[in-house]
Point group: C2
Chain length 310, copies 2
Amino acid sequence: MGSWEEFYATHLPPADFEDNRQLLKQFCENHLKDQSQNIVLVTSGGTIAPLEHNTVRFVDNFSAGSRGSASAEYFLERGYAVIFMFRTKSLEPFTRHFSGQQFLDMLDIIENGENSSISVKPDSVDVLFPILQKYKQAQETNRLLYVNFTSVSDYLWLLRAACECLAPFEKRALLYLAAAVSDFYVPEEDMPKHKIQSTGAPKISLDLVPKILKPLVSSWVPQAFVISFKLETDDSLLIQKSREALIKYNHKLVIANILHTRRYRVVMVSPTTEQEIVLSKEQVHSGLEIEEPIVNEIVKRHEQFQKPDQ
Amino acid sequence: MGSWEEFYATHLPPADFEDNRQLLKQFCENHLKDQSQNIVLVTSGGTIAPLEHNTVRFVDNFSAGSRGSASAEYFLERGYAVIFMFRTKSLEPFTRHFSGQQFLDMLDIIENGENSSISVKPDSVDVLFPILQKYKQAQETNRLLYVNFTSVSDYLWLLRAACECLAPFEKRALLYLAAAVSDFYVPEEDMPKHKIQSTGAPKISLDLVPKILKPLVSSWVPQAFVISFKLETDDSLLIQKSREALIKYNHKLVIANILHTRRYRVVMVSPTTEQEIVLSKEQVHSGLEIEEPIVNEIVKRHEQFQKPDQ
């Protein structure tokens, strides 16, 4: 594994990097003035690791962006300014509630010759109204910024830029790193220029992506409340690996979850405690999302963390 | 590379396979009665090849589904019944015109206490109206069926099931295979049960996916008009590889395109001809999509092909 300095030195920033950096800067400067304004960076969705320079094929990480997009909505409800840093085409706050043709199916055409118009079906209004209201509120108070990435290299560039803007918030900054970042990538020098031909079965050599949490916690945002996620498929490794991460990176919290139960069970692992959040079957059926109690618990801990005696 | 028989024998059908097979059957039986009804199977989006049994990581193919979703709309306009077989979360006909928050931004809240309602903004009506109208028409005439897949194995199972239902249409069936199907996959027996641990840099051994076009053309839908796509990044290989495919699989047409120019240039390669379709800069700026002339040309060739003297 190369160092993180080496990674930045050998990977160019994405094409829209300067635009996004400006957006991040303006958004943060805007909210920094209000001393009571907390801010959270929510990262969401998977990253890709291209296998070819002209990217046709890539290794992807499973992540629809459900956790991140839902959490962003609850942080907005709790008054946070939210930087939503997401994988292109993964789920986004508010629109996540509607997929496929659902939007078009909520609309009716009212035929009236040249004055034909479109209306929202009465029973769809009930569903749409509370979501639209929260969306408009976030827009009007300018508390939601979207920035997006695709590759692991895009992600690392954006993350560092976001940290630069978040550092002045000191303890008011929360980092909620829910994106599923590739552990592996194909080093530039090993990458073929063109599409791999399907004449033989290829072997792909992958390199480890540098562990960015290290410089992030120790140097970039040393005063912030940093939360990482640990997703495993094997329950027996989960808590042990979460503890190892806390020791290694020295951040505040790991939210640990198992792929197949992640919608109704997480364990919040801090250096000294473990707290399980579990939804009952009734809660799941009633439409409660686990991100609501997760965010509520985090907001509580973030408040505690900001008290002067801490 | 194993044979296609071996692939089906060693890969289970996806969980929703029987449901989708029933949908395909009903849709086709419904349209088979009308002797003048043409039908097209449009496949769209990329497939994934999982690297682990509990899929966290997978190799993906680049494809947003732009070509397939746009083409499906134009086939509907030309009177075809359309089976739209697409990668979950890739672009879909009609909704493809709106991304991110665009839908929510088209709506206004009309505050009126308990009778608050939602309206479509006047300038959004102009954009939305023609799209909504075509969507409703496709729905009302029952000419659009959606079935979706994620992995290459899902895709192969669905494709064969669709072909079984399409075969009775004989020459009236068109197959427009625009999906970007993985050439490679990790054989079941080489797949680790749990998430690959990031302690070392792994090597992944990939196997070749069997070339399904062979049995499809020769046995499954021997009378249909079958069109495949060839996407390359290297122009010098494009026509040669398209010709090789036509000789190997004995189908009617390859639509050849280069990754970076695919939005305004394709070459239609038949066993005896090559026809370029190119959009001018003016056409691109005016909003013309290349899928419109592509579909028009194909409909012409499909009509020709169906004439009794052919």
